[in-house]
Symmetry: C2
Subunit: 217 residues, 2 copies
Amino acid sequence: MTIIITAFERSPDGGKGLARDTRVRWALEEVGQPYEVRLVSFRAMKEPAHLALHPFGQIPTYEEGDLALFETGSIVFHIAERHAGLLPDNADARARAITWMFAALNTVEPPILELATARILEGDKPWSKERLPLVEDRVRHRLKQLSARLGSADWLDGGFSAGDLMMVSVLLRLKSSGILDGYPSLADYVARGEARPAYKRAFDAQLAVNTGKPPTG
Amino acid sequence: MTIIITAFERSPDGGKGLARDTRVRWALEEVGQPYEVRLVSFRAMKEPAHLALHPFGQIPTYEEGDLALFETGSIVFHIAERHAGLLPDNADARARAITWMFAALNTVEPPILELATARILEGDKPWSKERLPLVEDRVRHRLKQLSARLGSADWLDGGFSAGDLMMVSVLLRLKSSGILDGYPSLADYVARGEARPAYKRAFDAQLAVNTGKPPTG
């Protein structure tokens, strides 16, 4: 059955790979599943046809026959559950990999999104300059804890898993801020994720949409 | 195998049920699994023994034999996957219920947590009064979309699921703010969750910890 995902017609990041379809593309590339992409304009995202697929008017969505899903975490989990390569076979190790997916999305990403909001949506507010360090400190607090747990390991729990895919994707949002530089082991961890052939294919595919050029790979 | 979860020795909310152990207690009550609770002080949460269980120094954690998990979403999913009552049998319906778990934690909860941060951690800042309406608007935006999707249904997708358990738990954080009053169908949805016998048992159990009295049920 053909897998169809949605992505921005024009990503707000211009193709830096931060739009969430990259996470789904990456998961599909890791497990070797082909997929089609339907591009959605900002206007179409708020219209009934898209809201029927995604109640919060965002991308990505995932369609496969009669099944329609939204929410990146759920889509990546669905892919990981059905195809080998993203979750360990051992039941306990699998549960721990799923734990890291949730930790990436519910514990590490919220302060990072808050930082983006502070910079972009509230960047022109009178409180912006004084408030930004507070928000950055909340991000650093999480990075310090994450770095302590990762230690000198390559991945968060044994081999690369959907938990790492999600955590690396979340940390990639910080790349341009310079904050990751304070945590060399996390910067290396992100670089290991970016170096995976599946990530590169996913990145190139989203970049091609945003530059109008076909992927070079 | 005995299930052991951790909870605050003294919850910051004084027993209003907003600490995240309530979500795990609720899930365990829905599936009829007994559990033990180990209480953790704020000090102990930051010490190595607890950080080994929970790298971000929070509660709840979940231990069952050799398995140790953290992150509420992952714990509730683990319970839902292993015991009947929280996820539909049909594969597509199951994937949609999991979608709502992720949506609750990654799309609806972040602006609600930001509102809590704005009120509590930044309540004494010079920008607080001017900034608060912006943060509230972000919460309302999500509530409006969620309310539109729920419509006149009792639960988000067919029967009650782990997705509803998580969404109701997230919305409960808004109860004291009055914001939910603007969305009567969501207020009713939350009330339906609170009326479930399993929720009541979970609520009473966490209240008993915080008042020092045994549950009356």
